[in-house]
Assembly symmetry: D3
Homo-oligomer: 248 residues x 6
């Protein structure tokens, strides 16, 4: 039966590593560190701010699998990014969105670092004027790269940001995809000059393409970033704590 076929299609091999949730652990640590430093984040009692133009479902009304995922993400990251709440308005689309997201952003294969992936999101989302993605992925870039100002630079203008030639070429390509330029062999040659092969090109382009979609969904819903994201990763913690993190 038809439905069985797609059902099977959607079964991700159990061996897949979900770096997303692993990285959540790191987020939680960061938040804890920030709190310890004396700054009171608004996680504990968030104001009933409006985070979407569409209604946010009550947990009790959500499918069980989505609730489990949300609780896992929140317990590991310290707070639940609003994109989970906003997209849960459409559970079936939620599942497909995060399955895709997880594959592109959290997979353990490929040669793009986590920080590089986030940089692509920041640059292309800035072009698309997407507040949610710029702020949330800017935070993730700060955390993964340990460079507290680079994402802010890229938000304004990646062309004069303090990028390596590799990062610059990566963003040139991501922006070409972002603008829906016709991709030519010349694009691949520019990537090859800094050591990216065709599989890397796919990785870069797929992220730029996926966020072309995400940015537009954020515009549709007027999705607002959690307040936590604005400051995450900005203030360096003291040495002893950094050392601990390196052990993760």
């Amino acid at each position: 039966m038809a439905s069985n076929i797609f059902l099977k299609l959607l079964r991700v091999p159990a061996s897949t590593q979900f770096a997303c949730l692993r990285s959540g652990r790191s987020l939680r640590k960061k938040a804890a560190a920030l709190t310890a430093a004396g700054s009171r984040l608004s996680c504990s009692n968030p104001p009933p701010e409006k985070i979407s133009r569409y209604p946010i479902p009550y947990k009790k009304d959500l499918p069980y699998d989505i609730v489990v995922l949300m609780e896992e993400v929140e317990s590991k990251g310290g707070f639940l990014p609003n994109v989970f709440k906003v997209l849960s308005h459409r559970p079936a689309e939620f599942r497909a969105f995060f399955a895709y997201y997880n594959e592109l952003m959290n997979k353990d294969t490929g040669r793009l670092t986590k920080a590089e992936r986030e940089l692509i999101v920041v640059a292309t989302s800035s072009y698309n004027k997407c507040l949610y993605c710029v702020v949330s992925h800017g935070a993730l870039h700060r955390i993964y790269s340990k460079k507290p100002t680079l994402s802010d630079q890229v938000v304004v203008n990646y062309k004069n940001a303090e990028l390596t030639p590799r990062e610059h070429a990566m963003l040139d390509f991501a922006m070409a995809v972002c603008r829906s330029d016709t991709i030519t062999d010349e694009h691949f040659r520019s990537l090859e000059e800094v050591g990216f092969d065709r599989e890397d090109a796919w990785d870069i382009a797929a992220i730029a393409a996926f966020f072309a979609m995400s940015n537009r969904l954020a515009h549709l819903t007027d999705m607002r970033p959690n307040l936590e994201f604005f400051n995450l990763g900005r203030v360096p913690r003291d040495k002893s704590k950094n050392k601990a993190e390196d052990d993760l």
Copy 2:
């Protein structure tokens, strides 16, 4: 364990109807009709044309679930659209892509007709200069709408195409999403004037957003449309056959 959580997330309820495959049946009929009318389509012995900049995996190297899906789609539609072959280069992304696609384009709920959904794809893909999506979804629009010239009109210029006010407002909104405009209440008011509510708006925007992604993946891979798509739905069949189709 983390992987279990996502695994559950991706399990689509078995009750979901896969209109995609059902519609495949309709495609097959069309192709058969065309053939009967004397035109020899190239399905049987396709030239070894290049359909992607990336390698197309041999069937024997593909995961079983993907092969099963491809065979089902091909047997029902008469030919296998190249997007299946091209994206199978990345099986995990293939699964997420088609799960999402299926949810948006083939779901039985919502008030957008199949033809309307295809019209959104045609208009936005034309803006993004995506050959594959314009040609393939132009064909699907002709089939679903039974209007053999409207999609060609929309490819060139939706603003003076022979659209109903409802279709025009729908495409205005889809194009705003396509361009990554900031969506405002004014956009929703324009939709309401022709009878679309907020859930319809989400449906329209989600399709425009998904094809913002698809168009860019097609540019990445230089994806080429199957030759069959160019002519599908252009030549009306004779009355008796049309009647038969209405019985489906």
Copy 3:
């Protein structure tokens, strides 16, 4: 007297060959072939569709020379393209328009093939979002080139269409003219690299310039393409007939 001067100016040497009308013969054959294949085109009893925002003159109210031309074109091509009807609203402009058109598109000199000229029209008219010219000249390109899908590719995106390097350079130049770019020696060098000299450049540019005008007149009048154009040249006829055509 002044009027005499212009009168003489407008006298085209009688030796000029009017390929336009000759090619009309070819159109008629195509239409006949299509009909023979079982598809009922709407030529015989066209619906009283609106083809212009301006009134279409009755034949009896038109100057004799224009009526004679229209009848000749219709008898040879199988149907009268709507541009003749629409522009006859202004007989004097009609005469100048078709004299110019005939010189650029139907002259026997120059090294551009008929198919190349049509390709220029398709590419630039698509940029200008002109429905009439894209659809009608797309049809003419299919007929002249015997390539049933190339014009559809060029409508969407000439940059990744299956063009020869010569065709690609030709369209790059035509598009520069179309956008009213400042033309520099660099443009001519690019043409020379694929074998076009300065006279060819003029031919290409003059066509792009003429259709810059035509496209805008079509927008003014909301000119609609004849239904026949949408399918012309799409379905290949059988071998014996093709052979006959080669004898023309």
Copy 4:
């Protein structure tokens, strides 16, 4: 025979008034006045400046009808505008170009004044960055309108030029045509508000469309304006002479 048909088509009724040449008389007077005022124009012995990227034919090599026209224009206007020389490189296109030009710019019917027609050319040619048309038709506007600064204003920015509401609406419409916008009923309503009907709209649009072509031909040939045009109509003559002109 086909050629006969077109031959007849191109015969302009002898009753047509060629305002173009008549206005040439006015140009000659202007030039004479300027000369009398002490400024030595370069008509008599023009420097061998380059006026086109293409060769300019010797008079002896041009068809007789074109030579006669050129001499008539020069004798009446005081100098021969370079566009005649540059386009004579292609006699057949020359004939069609000036037949069309004459019909649009010099016809005695319609409600657009000569100055209004020139204003359309100035505004749209400035948008297209066409040096030849801006300078030469700026001069013609100054002469016809007797407003020595308005065309300079329109070259820079028609939106804050000292225009009447009628002129402003006329240029708004001309610019929409110039940009190849999709023309809608809304455009016609805006024209009606200042008293332009649909025939006036055609006149405005046809001029904007014709110069869309002319501007591009000027870019192709790198056509340079005669030096005379830069100053024509800038310096007011004394009263007695103005009175004489009114008697024309």
Copy 5:
């Protein structure tokens, strides 16, 4: 003598209040507070990072008046913004630049608040992709407005930032000036609807215009923001300190 005239022109009345330096005092307090909170800013021993494409003069080589100003600003603000160092390469331009800046941004008259002025700078500098101005004036906005996230929102997209209608209209106007749009009465009406009169309009436009210049000078010099700016005003201090500040 001519020089005397300009000399007098440039003498600012002694009664002028230099809010700039006063606000410097506030900056210093902020920096001190941040330091007290445990975050080690890089003020004390800045890395010898490159802050301009042009050489930075040694203090000993600068005119006395410029050195005095720099020391005053640094002693009050806690660090010397790089724009002072970078522009001191051209002392005469430095003087004119800061005289103008001071008049627009620090004057005590007018109805724009300090925070509103900074918001204009952030929005327009983001459009111009000016890293220095976005980062430094984003910091100043956070400090003046006590809203730690609003400037980040405006950097990405002022259209969906959490602005009051007054702020939104102010930025709409500032952006029109920023893009060098033709300003019309309609612009002033939109400002009046939220309570801005023509003098306010001048204030808004003059700031947008001045930063049109500043942004371009920053691009010329590749001016880099001080690291301090990235974090200034992000982390709220505890209540007792806020109270103290209110007493200033």
Copy 6:
């Protein structure tokens, strides 16, 4: 005290040469020459035309230093450019504006000629559609360069104006600054190829940046050029007078 510091900052060394006023002398001579040639300029009794959207202060209400400057400029140039009147609405901004202007446009150092500086203003102001600056600085360019048509060419399209390679490269760079492009080493290399060093680059960019501001202030105020500017420098005077001017 703070105000003292800025007071000192704004004191221009008395040794500064004010070429601006010297050049005013030259303007007066030009105007005189034009008058002698028989053309009556409107200096003596200007019509009460509206030159700004903001009120123009009465002389008696202006600060003494501004009145003195205006009278000096008018007595030397033959008429007072409207920008002085319009900006005097804000005396403090007036002082900063002209101090900056004077430094950039009238300084005796640097390698840009007066004509080159004006050419930068003309090209960038045309891009910004600023009527006042195009017309007034077009006039100044004609006077300084003694080329009566070059500025008109640059207004329409600097890319095909009759420029030297040095001028072309200069304008390419000025336009990059004008558009707020990210300036890269590549820009400096292009300048070096025609002999401009980094200090020249600063000079070019600072002028382009300053007029980015000026153009926007002119849009704000709807500033109108003096009628005198339209014709200044267009009509060459006779030889004897030219010789006299060379002696200046």
